[in-house]
Subunit: 209 residues, 2 copies
């Protein structure tokens, strides 16, 4: 497996084959890989929405410029930020560390203070921005994992977040939508798969110091 | 190669072995993989700074809470957003598409208008936020590629961006630092490599709809 070959194989799939579904094993593996993404402090202050429901996907499509991926892909994976991030999240996280690593909670008091201080220093919009960035790492990890597994994906930012939140009832769950990927299998008819990948030459994007 | 195994192997390396350097081939592969990351519209409105200079790395370390990765890792990879994103970037990008795919520029006029409209609708801080998010996808892609290649890495947000910009003279280059990864090989003495990975159970992070 050459990673460069895999990354060149992937492309932002515009047309999925609606007859091809990912297996439970495949989806579970992708979600597990995504959950292994690093996040700032390790806090993981977001949820991953795995959307299969057809009726809901039709509505989401309308709130996403009618892009066909929303209904034709096998699954929609939507990242949503926690809008109620607070000290309780830090405390729950510290309990998880303590249990996972079998170490006393007290030994984490410095980490506790650092995280709480960091969160207290952010405005509400700073928090959503910061959390959003963490979901983009996870999105990157999901996309590479898809490529490695030979699964097609399309990262998508172009949708009405307010409408998505309403359709999915996210406000009541203290969530707000950030970014998504549709995943599945490319249609044979998707002309984009045959186009050369467009990337800046390395010497234009790289600065050596 | 099982991707889950690779992702479990990786961890945010706190202590690198300063005697072990990545080869040019390894670094080139990582940069190529990072450059293959998708970005919104495909615009890639950021630079990748590959920093080896020891004197500069000492200064960066001081601006990053003295975290030893800055000087002990083989290389520092810093993502920096373009602060002067404008219609010219869109035009350069369209030229690149036209040349890469051998299609007339005129056929891209709709795409041209869409991108320019999108950029015009953003404030300066919106732009930096949006570009920053794109660099986090690339960071995610870099981290997974490192894991696949058996290379250690530490994603790092905790540094003084203003000081980094000053040390690296980024303002004059119309760049501003966003996020970085230090890459190389873990030290045998890094105790963090032996700690169990802490992640939320899937049923806590996943919402099925």
């Amino acid at each position: 497996m050459d990673i460069i070959e895999k990354l060149n194989w992937r492309y932002a799939t515009k047309q999925f084959d609606p007859t091809k579904k990912l297996s439970d094993d495949q989806v579970n593996k992708l979600i597990e890989a995504t959950n292994l993404s690093p996040s700032s402090f390790g806090l993981q202050p977001f949820s991953i929405l795995l959307i299969e429901n057809e009726e809901i996907r039709k509505k989401l499509k309308e709130a996403a410029w009618n892009q066909p991926q929303l209904t034709d892909a096998s699954h929609v994976v939507l990242f949503a930020a926690h809008t109620d991030l607070s000290n309780k999240d830090v405390e729950d996280f510290l309990k998880l560390i303590s249990e996972t690593r079998n170490i006393p909670l007290e030994s984490l008091s410095e980490y506790d203070a650092m995280m709480k201080g960091f969160i207290a220093g952010m405005s509400e919009s700073d928090k959503i921005n910061w959390i959003s960035k963490q979901t983009y790492i996870a999105l990157g990890q999901l996309l590479v994992t898809c490529a490695v597994e030979g699964i097609d994906a399309c990262p998508m930012e172009g949708f009405d977040k307010g409408q998505f939140d309403e359709i999915l009832g996210l406000k009541d769950k203290n969530l707000t939508s950030v970014v998504m990927a549709t995943i599945g299998y490319r249609s044979e008819n998707d002309k984009y798969q045959h186009l050369a990948k467009v990337r800046k030459p390395i010497d234009q994007i790289l600065v050596r110091i």
